[in-house]
């Protein structure tokens, strides 16, 4: 087997040194009833690289990849162009095959990029501090809710109607464990939400997504004021962080915690994972942050260096009193994020955001000009919602036949909501050419005619 360096002779010599007659002697503690014979598994034997590649390529070929269609899906995962150097750099052995940087003297590469990542996330979100990543946007949001409940010692959690339903479900899964009370505001696609009257002295936090799951942008300032007036925290959630190149940072609009999906910078779609959760907050809440933090310090020779810090919040030190149980996070995805954002820089990032918005505006104009199609979200970044004259799922399935992946039917996200049946959530990014947009408009007109 190509991955196993020991030869038969090596194994024999090693057993001799150990004083064991056979490998079975090393498994003496296993109850004999639990020992499995060779060949008992309904599984194939090993294969060469060529055979494995052939098999997996065949599975891959059964899928319609985004790049081989006119592609317009969003709803929490966005297709952006990732520069070739990003994927090359994250495959450097020293990044790819290292462990969590517990030995800082020989892990400065990881620690320094985590410090850069934290700085970038804090800058983008307009917050004071950020952690070294969580699993994804949904788990980051659920952790934010738990943190808000720890800080305020209150139970009530108000979720805006425009929150991604997978995020709401993730929050509910965790919050009910610790006695949280979830208040879910009814969905009103494309409309501003009135949440202020739901916030009271028992409210731990208000969770608002902008752009929301329908693409609508929200001014967080009135909500932040309403929350703060009752001593509650405002958690701002984002699915699409490229929007921050163009719209005001949530920190500048009064958010106390920002939880976001960072996939759209540096990371591919990957059918839903791995992604990277961004988590940023105010400095005063530092000791309540979940997950790892890289911090600056000096070495014995006085040189600047970085270490994992404030680990007394974490499970490996604090055990059952930790702020979270998280251990492994999304290190390499965070690196991809950091490299991509470094390549873009201030100007490139702003241009990318403007280009996304321009593409979406053009697409919205073209599609809503089709008879029977109505634009539901009047303000948006790169994603918007349409009301179609027919069930959106049927339309999307028909569009596949035209080689168009035309968005996500709202019914996929809200299956029990009959009002969502006709709604289609559509995203456009810099990867969509004018030809793609033309193809989509033509195909949609044809399907609806």
């Amino acid at each position: 087997m190509r991955y196993l360096p020991l030869t038969h002779d090596d194994r024999t010599a090693m057993l001799a040194r150990i004083g064991a007659k056979s490998i079975n002697d090393l498994f003496v503690d296993v109850p004999s009833a639990a020992v499995i014979d060779r060949g008992r598994f309904a599984l194939p034997d090993g294969q060469g690289e060529l055979e494995v590649e052939r098999h997996l390529s065949r599975l891959a070929a059964k899928n319609l990849s985004a790049g081989s269609a006119a592609f317009f899906c969003g709803s929490g995962a966005y297709r952006h162009h990732v520069p070739a150097s990003v994927d090359h750099l994250i495959q450097r052995s020293e990044f790819l095959t290292s462990y969590t940087p517990y030995q800082p003297e020989i892990s400065q590469g990881t620690l320094q990029y985590l410090f850069e990542f934290q700085t970038q996330v804090a800058m983008l979100t307009g917050m004071e501090v950020a952690n070294a990543s969580l699993y994804d946007g949904s788990t980051a949001t659920a952790e934010a809710v738990e943190m808000a409940r720890r800080i305020t010692r209150r139970a009530k959690v108000v979720l805006c109607g425009g929150l991604h339903p997978h995020y709401s479900a993730t929050i509910s899964t965790l919050a009910k464990l610790s006695g949280g009370e979830i208040i879910a505001v009814p969905r009103r696609p494309g409309e501003r939400e009135e949440l202020a009257h739901l916030i009271d002295g028992e409210t731990a936090c208000v969770v608002v997504q902008s752009p929301d799951v329908f693409g609508l942008l929200h001014d967080l300032r009135p909500l932040a004021e309403a929350a703060h007036a009752k001593g509650a925290l405002l958690i701002a959630v984002m699915n699409e962080v490229v929007s921050l190149g163009l719209i005001e940072a949530p920190g500048a609009m009064g958010a106390d915690i920002v939880a976001a999906e960072g996939q759209s910078i540096g990371n591919g779609l990957n059918f839903g994972g791995p992604y990277v959760g961004l988590f940023a907050t105010r400095e005063k809440f530092l000791r309540q942050i979940p997950g790892r933090l890289a911090g600056e310090t000096v070495d014995a020779a006085g040189r600047r260096g970085y270490v994992l810090t404030l680990s007394t919040r974490e499970q490996h030190i604090r055990r059952e009193k930790a702020t979270s149980n998280i251990c492994t996070n999304s290190g390499l995805c965070a690196l991809a994020f950091t490299i991509h954002l470094s390549l873009l820089g201030e100007e490139g990032f702003a241009r990318l955001a403007r280009l996304n918005h321009a593409r979406a505006v053009l697409l919205a104009e073209r599609l809503s000009a089709i008879r029977g199609v109505e634009l539901v979200t009047q303000t948006f970044f790169n994603e918007f919602t349409l009301r179609l004259p027919r069930p959106a799922k049927v339309v999307i399935d028909a569009l596949v036949e035209q080689n168009v992946l035309g968005g996500v039917p709202a019914s996929r996200l809200f299956p029990d909501d009959s009002a969502a049946q006709s709604l289609l959530i559509v995203a456009a990014t810099e990867t969509n050419s004018t030809d793609d947009i033309d193809s989509y408009a033509r195909a949609l007109a044809k399907v609806l005619s």
Binding site: T7, S57, S75, Y113, E116, A249, L293, V307, T312, L362
Partner: protein, 522 residues
């Protein structure tokens, strides 16, 4: 001055004690690298993004009004920066990485190549299911491998890492208990457990009750029995345990736990010692997460991403979280909400958005197919053989607290061999860095004093193990002989000497700011 076999001097001299400091501050291949924010200039960009065509903005008046503060760099500058950073990291590709409990085995590049096939990497999680049948088939195949290798009837695929898998398993247990209308607030966790176990149990709303270990590194069954009662929801047990030992009374543990109606959660972090030889399902396990980034070689990536699927017993299977993968006349289908459920399925909720770590699934399946069931068994055996070889080769100079019998895939030592030497576990480990090795896991598990947990994995040749053993023997002998120069303040040859962690925690600096530069310049 010593010479190498080409007649070149080998004395390093890089400490600078006898040589003048370099003018640049760099040393040969070893470059000091600033933060990215201290490089670059306004207006530069490493990506050619075209300016947007004319359009009427629809942002509704919340446009960004201030700069973000990102530096501008060209592509070559960014590439050089991150390549230079990478060179300050130790990695499994550059050397033996004996971190016990972490399983730093070889990460085959075939897996990377497969995960990057556009048919997997360029799929949207919510595109129509008829367009992703190959991806769903891959997940189904991986599920089959996991269930088959563990002898368990179900598996939940969405957890994103080991700790997330633990949470998933404990939530399934919680749901099963709620379905029986029982009240079981307590979870038993051995003191040797990974920190994630008590943290998870607490996160899941349970009260953690610790069970002591026996003098020989196993769970104390008598103490366990004494604590078992009808208010116990589960035991969370790692097997093989964190002392590197197989819990030989595991069947008794399972029986006792089940007798009071509680569940057996197994931390599967050490499954790589037994995969292909022992099925956890035969040990009475009700739930176990599998770290694909340990046992099945997906890269650790400096701290993730991982993946933590959880295998479940028949009793827990109905409570597996959404989404569920089912097969019907139309092919494979993801059930993403409760309204589409059938049978006795009663999911406790959802662990995260979408369907799990697909990129890691592809890598893990690629690894499994390469090894096959026979190769996985061989890998487990080689991992155990290598750990025992290290244990046998070192136990006369280092102290193995449980060294009487064989270990599993990890060799545990304590620090009593360093008694009265003035060298601590930390010093010893840091001296290993100077010898070109990443240290072993230190001070864990907590059940022995000054623990050193060595996991060589199956990826090392005998020659590599011999060299490693020779270095550790040498260090142990140096310490005992009182030659302490190499330990005091080690490492000396790393990119950094010991870092001041106390200062870092006392006055945390967690991000770069422009003002800091100004202060530093003063």
């Amino acid at each position: 001055m010593t010479m190498n076999n080409q007649g070149r001097p080998t004395t390093a001299g890089i400490s600078g004690a006898t040589l003048p400091p370099t003018l640049s501050g760099d040393h040969g291949l070893d470059h000091e690298e600033k933060l990215i924010f201290e490089l670059g200039r306004d207006g530069m960009c490493g990506v050619d993004v075209p300016e947007a065509p004319a359009h009427t903005a629809r942002l509704g008046g919340i446009e960004r009004r201030r700069k973000i503060g990102l530096p501008g760099l060209s592509e070559p500058e960014v590439v050089r920066h991150y390549v230079r950073l990478s060179r300050n990291n130790y990695a499994i590709d550059t050397g033996l990485y004996p971190l016990g409990s972490c399983t730093m085995k070889h990460n085959p590049r075939l897996n990377e190549k497969m995960a990057r096939l556009p048919g997997f990497s360029d799929l949207h999680p919510l595109q129509p299911q008829q367009t992703v049948q190959g991806a769903l088939q891959l997940i189904q195949e991986l599920m089959h491998w996991l269930m088959e290798l563990t002898g368990m009837p179900a598996v939940a695929m969405s957890p994103k890492a080991g700790a997330h898998g633990e949470l998933c398993g404990m939530l399934a247990i919680k749901a099963a208990i709620a379905a029986r209308a029982e009240h079981r607030p307590r979870v038993l966790v051995p003191e040797s457990a990974h920190g994630t176990n008590p943290a998870t149990a607490a996160f899941a709303g349970f009260r953690v009750d610790q069970i002591p270990a026996t003098g020989d590194g196993h769970v104390n069954i008598e103490a366990l029995r004494a604590k078992l009662d009808t208010d116990v929801a589960a035991i969370m047990l790692t097997n093989p345990n964190t002392c590197g030992l197989f819990e030989r009374r595991i069947l008794e543990v399972a029986e006792a736990v089940h007798q009071v109606g509680a569940f057996f959660y197994c931390d599967g972090a050490n499954f790589n010692a037994i995969a292909g030889r022992v099925r956890p399902g035969d040990l009475g396990v009700d739930a176990m997460h599998i770290n694909l980034h340990k046992t099945f070689s997906t890269p650790h990536g400096g701290g993730g991403p991982g993946a933590g699927p959880v295998v479940l017993s028949k009793a827990l299977a109905p409570f597996a979280p959404l989404p569920l993968l089912v097969s019907d006349a139309h092919g494979l289908r993801l059930i993403e909400d409760r309204s589409a459920l059938s049978g006795d399925s009663d999911p406790f909720g959802r662990m995260c958005a979408f369907h799990g770590q697909m990129g890691m699934f592809v890598r893990a399946l690629s690894y499994m197919l390469s090894h096959g069931a026979d190769g996985i068994r061989q890998a487990s055996e080689d991992a155990v053989l290598s750990a025992n070889y290290v244990l046998s080769s070192l136990k006369d100079v280092m102290t193995a607290p449980f060294g009487e019998g064989p270990c599993m895939h990890e060799a545990l030592f304590d620090d009593s061999f360093l008694n009265d030497t003035g060298v601590t576990t930390l010093d010893f480990a840091k001296a290993m860095i100077d010898e070109g090795y990443h240290p072993m896991t230190m001070y864990f598990p907590l059940v022995v004093h000054g623990a050193m947990l060595i996991e060589p994995t199956e990826s090392e040749s005998k020659e590599s193990l011999d060299r490693f053993v020779a270095v550790l023997r040498g260090l142990a002998e140096e310490a005992k002989a009182g030659r302490l120069e190499r330990f005091a303040g080690a490492p000396h040859y790393a990119p950094r000497q010991r870092l001041d962690e106390t200062a870092a925690a006392r006055k945390p600096v967690l991000r770069w700011t422009e003002t800091k530069i100004a202060e530093a310049a003063e």
